[in-house]
Symmetry: C2
Subunit: 462 residues, 2 copies
């Protein structure tokens, strides 16, 4: 029982997209020959477009999905072999092309077409807006973009599954998150790269530049520094501070869990869980599951289970986990850890979980191997090994949660994004999933809107 969407793209799982621009004879059968040739390689044709005509030739853009650059090279060779005189004009890496010059841009909300426009937006008119704020600082919320503006703050120490690649290499992720904010909820997000691994330096830099934002999203900051940075900023700012790798992920996991439990007919109170990963996501998901009502969860990090009395590679957050989880104080192997569990959640490393481990779980098990871009176990393998439900990071996507959480918080000028707001978001997401799906369509703008309304209502209620 595969609950993930089986769109062709997810089926093929291709992560690379190339466009082959080729000049061929303007003969209707030539394009057929090209697509035929490509179909015999590992590449899949996504789209073809005639982009130009030159005398007897026609220029086609053939967009293909590939699992690697090598597959694209294969496709190019196949086109050359199949079509006489085909000229390959260029091969573009579309992923890099979409990131060229960045995926976001700042725009003026009003056109500046007349001197009147200019004099209202800029001097001398703007002085009226300044003076209104000087008289009453609370006016700034309405009289500037603060009400829609979020800082996406990173120090580049835990970027995607790539690790500590530095702030510069992390920027495409921050821009991508900002593009999603803009498209899904109209939030204006600004990447803020802070060049420091020191907790207090990051905190102080954010504090000193926080005035123009209505909320702060922390992103891709390594544990355990991320916990301290978030704690200190939350203490000292009266706007929401939210580490997405923690709470965004936890919110989407909760949403999926609500539907998964319904599907398998279990109650969270009765479930036992094994969690692999005690970093930002693992810690936050565990805390969220506990608040959601789970009684029995054991967390593994790369050194084994976290238990009371463990002394190796602990920190104050793992001590807290040891206190709150692992009710039987299990100290066995990872293989042992799966035995008799109802739920597995992985936020650790690709392909580290075996079919045997899944097979050792209880009947009707829920398996969420979320490491990115490749899960701890293949979804199909998990299902084959007996999981009732399996879904990975392609389904459990935090782009479903963070836009609505921030939109909802900003809409009611919330000073925090609380667990209650996350739970309201998760419940709304769960309720909007199509029959048989764990989660709704991330592209459906109405999903984000409804979730944001629920988040805002949860703040007002508290």
């Amino acid at each position: 029982m595969e609950l993930t969407k089986t769109s062709w793209q997810e089926r093929y799982r291709a992560t690379q997209i190339f466009t082959i621009r080729c000049k061929i004879n303007d003969n209707p059968s030539t394009l057929a020959a090209i697509t035929q040739a490509i179909s015999k390689t590992g590449a899949h044709v996504h789209a073809t477009t005639a982009v130009g005509i030159e005398d007897a030739d026609i220029i086609h853009d053939i967009r293909i999905f590939c699992t690697s650059k090598a597959v694209c090279d294969e496709a190019v060779a196949a086109v050359k072999a199949a079509v006489k005189n085909a000229q390959i004009l260029s091969v573009l890496d579309e992923v890099l092309e979409i990131h060229r010059r960045g995926t976001i841009e700042m725009k003026s909300r009003a056109p500046i077409r007349s001197l009147t426009d200019l004099r209202m937006i800029y001097t001398p008119g703007v002085a009226d807006a300044c003076k209104a704020i000087e008289r009453d600082p609370a006016v700034a919320w309405d009289m500037t973009g603060i009400c829609d503006r979020v800082a996406i703050v990173t120090n580049g120490t835990a970027v995607l599954g790539l690790g500590d690649i530095g702030i510069l290499a992390s920027l495409p992720v921050m821009e991508g998150k900002a593009a999603i904010f803009a498209e899904f909820t109209g939030i204006s997000a600004v990447p803020v790269l802070v060049e420091s691994k020191d907790v207090d330096t990051v905190v102080n830099t954010v504090l000193r530049t926080a005035a123009s934002y209505g909320a702060i999203q922390l992103e891709d900051i390594a544990a355990p520094e991320c916990f301290e940075i978030e704690e200190k900023l939350r203490d000292r700012l009266n706007i929401p501070v939210f580490h997405d790798d923690q709470h965004g992920t936890a919110t989407v996991v909760l949403a999926a869990m609500i539907n998964a439990l319904k599907k398998v007919g279990k109650r969270i109170e009765d479930c036992s869980a094994i969690m692999i990963g005690a970093g930002a996501a693992g810690y936050a998901i565990t805390m969220a599951l506990l608040k959601f009502g789970i009684k029995d969860v054991t967390v593994y990090d790369s050194f084994g289970p976290i238990y009371r009395g463990r002394t190796n590679k602990m920190n104050k957050y793992k001590e807290h986990l040891a206190k709150m989880t692992n009710k039987n104080n299990e100290q066995g192997s990872l293989q042992d850890g799966f035995k008799g569990k109802d739920i597995f959640i992985g936020v650790a490393r690709p392909k580290m979980v075996s079919k045997e481990m899944i097979a050792a779980m209880n009947k009707n098990s829920i398996v969420l191997p979320l490491s990115n871009p490749i899960g701890e176990i293949d979804v199909a393998d998990a299902l084959a090994a007996g999981a009732a439900i399996a879904a990975d990071g392609r389904t459990i996507n935090n782009a479903l949660a963070y836009p609505a959480l921030f939109r909802g918080a900003l809409d009611v000028k919330a000073e925090d994004i609380t667990f209650e707001m996350q739970l309201a978001c998760a419940k709304t997401l769960a309720s909007l999933a199509a029959d048989g799906d764990l989660l709704p369509d991330v592209l459906d703008r109405n999903v984000h809107k409804e979730a944001a309304v629920a988040v805002a209502a949860a703040w007002k209620k508290s």
Copy 2:
């Protein structure tokens, strides 16, 4: 000889714009009665639009220019008195309305309509862009928005003519500048509010967050801290750092000066000048005039002329001015300072210069009273007192310079904005002015484009 554009708006000089929404009888003569009534007050009708119909009534938006809110109240009363049963539904302050929720917004450069879009902009595709930058950090210039992104940094200590109103109240100005950047040159500018008056704190905060920007614009930072902050940042960053209040203003003044000198048939080398104001703009304009070739300029601050040997209220920048200017070491009154001068430039306080002072200048004098929003002397008064050319801040607008300076610098990945680039910008602006005008139309996108090309060429030449 008034060289400024005589658009009705500049003639009326109204700085406030209101929209009166009123419901009136749907009788063609009623609108005529309303505009007639308003015309007898101090308000000027800018536009009327029928925005709704209700049974026998029609709802009109009457947009008026006023010199104050009191004039608007007058107009509202006049409408009520002139039209029986006229219902005033609302009176909107349009300047505040245009700043409501801010004048800028971050947008996605590509639509996110399919899972493929999402997977290219965000995970897993984005990892390719990250890895490309990790391998070669220089790639970040092309593979992110850095090439188009400028930080507009302020600490709110010298905002417009309003002074030290703080970072929050300064935000509408920073947003307005960003809106102009976006509209005129496609630059993505981000307001960065730094909560500190300490030079090193501001410098360190900017240094730690500079990685995602292609250039830094400093804005509305008080002298003399602005000089130190700029110097330190220029020393430590390999991207342009440019204090607009200094160099943007100086660039536009140079452009106007080129045309003004041509008009009066004088050479800069032969001119003597009096400058009032030794803050950011005054200092930078003086330095620019010296580089441009002037031999005789005396600078006044609020304590009198700056001269060699003065001990009161000096700092190292004023010491430098004392060394470089005031060749006769004049120590007299402001009135004395105007005698026999060819050029007056004011960047100080409204209405501090008298007709008598202007009358004491040489024949064919050039008078630029630039204090904002009201000049040191009224342009009409200056002309009446004998100035050959007079123009104030409405004409000498730095929105003509900074967009092109940054666009040109970013286009060639310049590491600095040099005086040569400013001069190239000024010369191009001067060359594009219509006959009789000092400067070209700030709304003409082609002006910004051509100036940016000249700026880029000047960097490449150096």
